[in-house]
């Protein structure tokens, strides 16, 4: 597809939307109680989000998504309108304006402050209000457990399908066209769509032969299986909730996960080639392969999930011991133990969580005498909670202690205090997370909130998550940690060309070295490696950056290309990095050798390369 055409449309459409946002925001600022500006802003954010997602601008998509969610919460009355809210939206609209320009220029997220999306998300979570019940059964048959007539029909939706419940509902409607439906399980009136487990069962009294019924239901799309049980017994798998477990060695799962990661990368490359050849037969075959790959991926991810209790349950003892040691009375309240996370995510957050909990007890909570004097119960409260969210999981570590003493942080900053701004929660976190700041001995006596926060933040970012801080003097401090539910990790070698960083899967790299890129007799470029001239590609040229002056010694990496080897020349080799490959769509115009995207620990995005692909195409990435 011609991306340049879409990029231009994206730019003009987005700018038009943003222009409207300015007008709407001014109207809203004048009267925060008005609802029309909110609806208009919501539509604008939604529109930009959809476009950005389609163009593959992941960072811009994330911010607009958070903003849309926030506005939706305002619209639904879950978050009250306020001057702060309007001010935040002004900031968001400005950031999106810059973000749109950057994204089109090929630098998605360059000027986007990652904290902004988190602040928006924070505001959206607002005061806790009961979630609104999903829309009820409407035109659908009311479930009549045990009653009804006809055989039981079970429809299994393919694993990993987005909006599985909506898909199941289409099957149900199709069934209603064929006969009388009863005893629908799960109950459409009571289900939370996002918790649908993939199986829908109902009784169907129909004049049609069962083969016709089965074919009709399979035709709904994304249906893996339709079974019909004629004996009138409810399908066993739905009535019995227990599921047999099998023990699987951890390393098997890890290996499988790695292989599935590679499979996804190979699939992406194949899909790109199929698109280029415009061969419908090939595209169809790749489409089928693609869906299967997604299912296998989803299946493996599912198998790796474990409840957070596996980590949470280790903390009470450690906290109790620490409390005794420092002479404090502490109650640890744990919620959401059943929430599930990928095992590797769980393992990686254990230390950061313990760190935050220890900080809360050691420095956040006051000693019993001070608490009593301040009118608080002598026993301090530390809360550790996990909560499933629309995307991922939120883990909270909170205490009801003294809060961070901002004046002392400011003193500690000295001359840098002015530059740090007014130390709101986001600013405070940024200061506490400065590597130098955290190790300073003086800070421990300020509040203890500095120790190792940089380490915690880095770790969380590495696995694709984020942290927000909220601290109120005298009331306490809380950290909210946003985590992806699952992750796919690819060990990679990071290389820099110009101002951009690219990642090459470590499994493809054989050696590295330094050499001068020379023009070889055949007209291509070559690097002499151990006396042997190897075909070479300058990554600078491939990503459309100006060529450096010739004759310069530059680092390179040797990669396997088919039966032979090739050399990729870069500006700087940055070293090994385990990348969490994000589930983002690649930009439409990206060449086939761009096979994935990931966010680096510093919050900036990087692209994953297929080195062999670089030698099969002379395509320069036109951006």
């Amino acid at each position: 597809m011609d991306t340049s055409k879409y990029a231009a449309l994206f730019l003009s459409d987005s700018r038009e939307n943003l222009q409207q946002c300015d007008t709407l925001l001014l109207a809203w600022e004048g009267d925060p109680a008005r609802t029309e500006p909110v609806a208009g802003l919501f539509r604008a954010m939604h529109s930009i989000k959809g476009m950005a997602a389609t163009m593959g601008y992941a960072r811009l998509t994330d911010l607009t998504h958070q903003a849309e969610h926030l506005l939706d919460s305002v619209r639904a009355g879950r978050v009250p309108p306020s001057a702060d809210l309007v001010a935040l939206m002004f900031e968001v609209v400005d950031a999106i304006g810059a973000g749109v320009d950057d994204a089109v220029a090929g630098a998605d997220g360059q000027r986007l402050d990652p904290v902004l999306a988190v602040r928006v998300a924070e505001m959206a979570s607002g005061p806790a209000v009961k979630p609104v019940a999903p829309p009820g059964g409407g035109t659908l048959a009311e479930p009549q457990p045990g009653a009804g007539a006809g055989p039981w029909v079970t429809v299994t939706i393919r694993a990993g399908v987005v909006m599985g419940w909506a898909r199941a509902l289409l099957a149900l409607r199709r069934a209603e066209e064929l006969g009388t439906v009863s005893a629908v399980t799960p109950d459409p009136a009571g289900i939370e769509p996002d918790k649908f487990a993939g199986k829908l069962a109902f009784r169907l009294e129909s004049a049609e032969p069962m083969e016709v019924v089965r074919a009709a239901l399979m035709g709904v799309g994304d249906v893996a299986e339709v079974t019909v049980e004629d004996d009138g017994n409810r399908p066993a798998e739905l009535s019995a909730r227990s599921r047999p477990d099998v023990r699987v060695a951890r390393e098997h799962l890890d290996r499988l996960m790695g292989e599935v990661g590679e499979l996804v990368v190979a699939r992406n490359r194949l899909a790109q080639m199929a698109d280029e050849r415009r061969d419908p037969g090939l595209q169809e075959a790749v489409g089928a392969l693609s869906r299967l790959t997604d299912q296998v991926h989803e299946g493996v991810l599912q198998a790796r999930m474990a409840p957070v209790s596996e980590v949470f349950d280790r903390f009470p003892r450690a906290i109790r011991d620490l409390a005794r040691q420092v002479g404090k009375q502490v109650r640890l309240e744990v919620t959401g133990r059943e929430v599930e996370l990928d095992r590797s995510v769980l393992e990686l957050i254990q230390d950061p969580l313990l760190h935050l909990l220890r900080n809360a007890v050691d420095h956040g909570l006051e000693d019993p005498a001070t608490r009593t004097a301040a009118g608080k119960p002598a026993e301090g409260l530390v809360r550790l909670g996990a909560q499933r969210q629309r995307e991922g999981v939120m883990i909270t570590v909170a205490d009801d202690g003294r809060g961070v003493d901002r004046d002392r942080v400011r003193k500690r900053l000295g001359e840098a205090a002015a530059a740090a701004g007014d130390l709101d929660d986001a600013g405070l976190l940024a200061v506490l997370a400065r590597p130098g700041f955290s190790t300073a001995e003086a800070v421990t006596s300020v509040s203890g909130r500095g120790v190792g926060i940089d380490v915690v933040l880095t770790r969380i970012r590495e696995i694709g998550g984020g942290i927000t801080l909220r601290s109120t003097p005298g009331e306490g401090t809380s950290f909210s940690i946003r985590l992806p539910e699952t992750m796919a990790v690819v060990p990679a070698l990071l290389a820099r060309v110009g101002s951009e960083r690219y990642a090459i899967p470590l499994s493809r790299v054989e050696e590295t070295g330094r050499a001068v890129l020379e023009t070889n007799p055949v007209g291509g470029r070559a690097v002499r490696f151990r006396g042997e001239p190897l075909p070479a590609r300058d990554l600078r040229a491939a990503v459309g950056q100006p060529a450096p002056p010739g004759g310069e010694v530059r680092p390179f990496l040797v990669v396997a290309v088919g039966e032979g080897r090739g050399v990729i020349v870069v500006d700087t080799l940055l070293g090994r990095q385990d990348l969490v490959v994000a589930a983002v769509e690649l930009p439409l115009g990206a060449p086939g050798w761009i096979t994935g995207a990931a966010v680096l620990p510093d919050g900036m995005p990087t692209f994953l390369l297929d080195p062999a692909g670089l030698f099969q195409e002379e395509v320069v990435w036109q951006r």
């Binding site: 597809m1 055409k5 879409y6 449309l9 994206f10 003009s12 459409d13 208009g40 919501f42 539509r43 939604h46 529109s47 989000k49 959809g50 476009m51 997602a53 389609t54 593959g56 998504h65 999903p134 829309p135 409407g138 035109t139 659908l140 987005v162 909006m163 419940w165 909506a166 509902l169 289409l170 409607r173 769509p193 996002d194 035709g219 709904v220 799309g221 595209q283 489409g287 693609s290 629309r390 995307e391 769509e585």
Partner: protein
């Protein structure tokens, strides 16, 4: 004869992209609408074989447009275009009479699959 399609979305970007996907696959895009009100009007005028309908649009949203169209033409084939995380709205649209849905960001193959399902 090629099947006719009405494309409804408030973003030109999305309309262009959907129209391109469909045109390249041999469908005939006979009209576009950028609001729910316009979608209903254009449907009456064009009686297309298929409608792609965005959920969030100004004036009248996609779900209300589905209700209006299905009230007049119960056999209307309407394909909802939804963003991720809008399952509750998609469910509502299906209850209102939409026949299928696709989720943004669009993969051309998925869009065409759904269109073929509806038109077969």
């Amino acid at each position: 004869m090629a099947h006719t399609v009405l494309v409804c979305d408030d973003a030109i970007f999305m309309r262009t992209m959907i129209a391109d996907i469909l045109t390249q696959a041999g469908y005939k895009v006979v009209g576009e609408a950028e609001s729910g009100v316009e979608a209903v009007r254009r449907y009456q005028e064009l009686k297309p074989d298929l409608v792609t309908m965005d959920i969030v649009m100004p004036e009248m949203g996609g779900i209300d447009a589905v209700r209006e169209i299905v009230k007049m033409y119960p056999d209307a084939k309407i394909l909802m275009c939804s963003a991720m995380g809008q399952q509750a709205l998609v469910v509502e649209a299906i209850q209102a009479g939409a026949k299928d849905f696709v989720v943004k960001p669009f993969q051309p193959a998925r869009v065409l699959e759904a269109v073929q399902r509806l038109l077969s």
